[in-house]
Symmetry: C2
Subunit: 404 residues, 2 copies
């Protein structure tokens, strides 16, 4: 019965966005805001600027006062409209948070983010009960990495995967026209989902990427060089996809030296070091002159016009569903997607799971998605990911008819 006290809760809702932005995180925001406005038990919808930071400093905006037209435009705008933050609250922060929530009569807490955000929601829930200011909490999933547990896939992944698939379609044509070796570094520290999406646009047997290296498989430099050599000898060209997070058998970076970020983690995004290092290796060890690397970087998560329609719809629905669950009496949980149809009949249902099943946990590529040789991606992955990315544009190719 204590678990259903949420049904009686009445007050304001606070919503925040956390972690790396995505193409569709604003869809989830707008889905939650518009749905929340329909429920009389929610007196106001406060948006926190820069997630937990804005909540701690009472930096709120009135999202219910935004026009629907403007919200709809924001929904189709990449990145986090409220501003985002990378911060795990410390125990004293959570205490402060409950004070702020009490002061503003906030009884519903929505946090859009990855597994860290689920953990934050979990901590807020637990402390709010101890402090006798009960707050119903809802984690709304968001990550381009697709690394959350329980859910079939994460809002944000399909659109970033679409960007990667399109980039490889174009770059495969570029590499075909001028030859040589091309190394593209794709986001993904621990999970190779986004890098795996590089294969989604392959049509012909000689289309690249010819090899895909994900963090789930230990990266061996000799193997990489042998792969590239063999492909280059056959096609006079080779294009590979590499996750920024590839590491050796001991989970150590393959780079000789590395910058670290403010948390002491190796800085992977926002630097071309890995691609440049691999390109230099190919140049020196294989004696191939035309070798280039690109690091796709932040465009993967915010480039306008590429968002997947399905992803937009699901991200919107996740926001709406989270509000509905709290309104139905749930007091704590995370929205998940369950796939109910495959292929052309692709369909999903929203569902709900305990925060503990998501908080701080990381999913990686299923082994069935990785080719046995460890340097490519399987058809099972294509089957899984293609509906999330949506139809890719057909590319033309000359028939190369010999003159009479």
């Amino acid at each position: 019965v204590a678990e259903l006290r949420g049904t009686a809760l009445h007050g304001k809702a606070a919503i925040g966005q956390s972690g790396g932005p995505t193409h569709v995180i604003n869809q989830t925001l707008v889905g939650a805001v518009l749905e929340a406005c329909r429920h009389p038990r929610i007196e106001a919808v406060l948006g926190a600027r820069h997630g937990i930071d804005g909540m701690l400093t009472e930096n709120f905006v009135d999202l219910g006062a935004e026009s629907v037209a403007n919200l709809e435009l924001i929904a189709r705008t990449p990145s986090a409209a409220l501003g985002s933050v990378r911060k795990k609250p410390k125990p004293e922060d959570v205490g402060k948070l409950i004070q702020v929530f009490r002061k503003h009569d906030i009884r519903f807490f929505f946090y859009i983010g990855g597994n860290d955000s689920a953990e934050t929601a979990h901590i807020v829930r637990e402390l709010s009960r101890k402090e006798d200011h009960e707050i119903a909490v809802c984690h709304l999933p968001k990550t381009i990495d697709n690394d959350l547990c329980v859910t079939d896939h994460c809002p944000g992944f399909g659109s970033a995967a679409r960007f990667v698939a399109l980039a490889f379609i174009g770059d495969n044509l570029d590499n075909r026209s001028l030859g040589g070796v091309k190394i593209n570094v794709v986001m993904g520290r621990h999970a190779g989902f986004l890098t795996a999406a590089s294969v989604l646009g392959r049509e012909s047997p000689d289309d690249g990427p010819h090899f895909v290296y994900v963090p789930e498989v230990p990266f061996r430099v000799e193997r990489f060089l042998a792969d590239v050599k063999q492909c280059y000898e056959k096609h006079k060209r080779c294009i590979v996809a590499v996750s920024e997070g590839v590491a050796d058998e001991n989970h150590k970076t393959i780079l000789p030296t590395t910058e670290t970020d403010s948390h002491g983690n190796a800085q992977l995004s926002g630097t071309g070091a890995l691609g440049d290092y691999l390109a230099q290796l190919v140049r020196k060890e294989l004696g191939i002159s035309r070798v280039r690397s690109d690091t796709f970087g932040y465009m993967q998560r915010c480039f306008p016009t590429v968002a997947s329609e399905i992803d937009m719809r699901e991200a919107r629905g996740a926001g709406e569903y989270g509000v509905q669950r709290l309104m139905r009496g749930e007091t704590s949980g995370s929205v998940v997607l369950r796939r109910t149809g495959e292929g052309d009949a692709y369909a999903v249902e929203f569902d709900w799971t305990d925060l503990a099943n998501v908080a701080g946990k990381t999913r990686t590529l299923d082994s069935s998605f990785i080719a046995a040789a460890g340097n490519d991606i399987t058809k099972a992955f294509v089957h899984y990911a293609a509906p999330l990315v949506g139809p890719l544009p057909a590319m033309g190719r000359l028939s190369m008819i010999a003159p009479r």
Copy 2:
């Protein structure tokens, strides 16, 4: 009268694509092929694989035998469908070329490319007259760098500029959400047109890029750091656009060490070195912790789905027009675009210029396009470039209404 002998020419046409691919180089190819098929004096349209290389090795395909439907699909496909090449023919190559043309009864030579390709066409024309196998030659302009003389702008530029503008629209939102300094390196060795396109999506006064550094202005590290510092102190964020070709007062790279390509030129594309160097400088000299760089790389010229409609149409028209000029009796020249309407009434006409006006010459940003301070782009450039890029998607932004 000798100049009009072309009117009597009768034989096959050879067409090739040269240099870096673009989003719309296949539009020009298809425009030329479909137009050539309508003229009885052109007996066949031979496509050379990898430009001059395919001509020297008689590696031809019959483009007239391709279905129109397939050609139309190819027209909307980025990169060079015939394959491209980076090669200036040597004098002995041109002699060989004339032999091949004589053997295949090729009397019309179409070369799609930049100023090097115009030069190649010029040399072929001159030698063909000496060798008594007269060939009418037509250079069809193509470059994302927009660095050809005479023409108002170059097919290929509008689409690459659209990619850059979109990327900055998204990255400005990303930078706004998480703060910090972001450095984006854009293609352009000598001409800053593409980097200048980074400003086309700016809407609000605080939208990035906050600074733009082009090769036309000597790059001073102290100035760059002072710019970034001032912006960061004001907005807690800063996003800058830098041409890959920025250089100091003595036209030397600002990088401590640099790879060189097979021609001994500094390798600028396909490496993250410049962005990483500048990011490191900002980190060390200004003590800012969140500093990232992205090097946009090859996506700028081949990413599917972003081509500008105007650019596609103009690229197509250039190919058609070149064929028409040779059929009307011209024997040598380059297709140029003349702007006949501005702003909403933007319009162009095709025209023709001597190869000597284009061959080997490079246009750079007009000084009226560069802000007096040398670190930004003017409205005059926006007026010039906006029609070429086409309408950019509107982005939403919260009104940030204070809660009651």
